[in-house]
Symmetry: C2
Subunit: 150 residues, 2 copies
């Protein structure tokens, strides 16, 4: 028997407690990881069915790397494992939210604690182009060269 | 001149302050909205270039509805507008995070404050199938029939 239920009608998908995730044409579902302590969004990545099953099974974030085309157990190389505190799915079951305890210094391969280290000012008029961002995080929490060796 | 910069090499995309978002093959970028007060993820939806420009311009969340295939100014029907407190983009500029002030009673069309009202227990062995979820939110914050008229 499959780990996931069949997707029947909209009402069932929204109201039932049977897990029936929708994977897109590439077999992927987006997964957002937030820091359980601060509520900051750490990263957005993708899972395939195997990655989602593995995440559920081991309680650590396992994604599917689109660039490397392989299962990606986050932190296996860097030690920056994401312990899943809570795993949720949305109304139409096509998006995942994980509250995580981020081990190590940070989530992002650039050395920042979160991948979202730049902000776009809003209320800009359209003739100010191209849009310029503001740096929100200045100090990297780790040196990516030391952690990833590249 | 375009509102968005050209995407050149990886380093520039990650380190520059020029906004150069990556839209997928369908012209979309995923956008996560979190509640600025609680840090809860409210919803995950998609923006096309026009929706992102509009969001930046007016400071309220504007998505692209994949089902209706049109620009979707969140809250225009329900009054549940999302005022953008902060708009961020991730390292490779292919995901958006908005901290929002959610006006009205909730973000989800089902009547809950967030679309993520069910949790998947982790640490489950694979022979317990299909996976069952837990209801995290019980009381709907509004009656969708009254708000959406359907």
């Amino acid at each position: 028997m499959s780990a996931f239920a069949e997707r029947t009608d909209k009402r069932a998908v929204e109201e039932s407690l049977l897990l029936a995730p929708k994977f897109d044409a590439d077999g992927l579902i987006p997964a957002v990881a937030t820091c359980a302590k601060t509520g900051d969004v750490l990263m957005l990545a993708y899972m395939n069915a195997e990655a989602l099953k593995k995440t559920i099974e081991i309680g650590e974030a396992v994604y599917y790397s689109r660039s490397r085309q392989e299962l990606w157990h986050k932190g296996k190389t860097s030690g920056h494992v994401q312990k899943v505190i809570e795993l949720r799915i949305d109304c139409d079951q096509d998006a995942i939210w994980m509250k995580v305890d981020q081990l190590g210094e940070g989530a992002c391969h650039t050395g920042f604690s979160t991948c979202f280290y730049r902000a776009i000012p809003t209320g800009q008029v359209l003739d100010e182009k191209p849009y310029m961002m503001e740096q929100k995080l200045i100090d990297k929490t780790f040196d990516p060269k030391k952690v990833y060796g590249k």
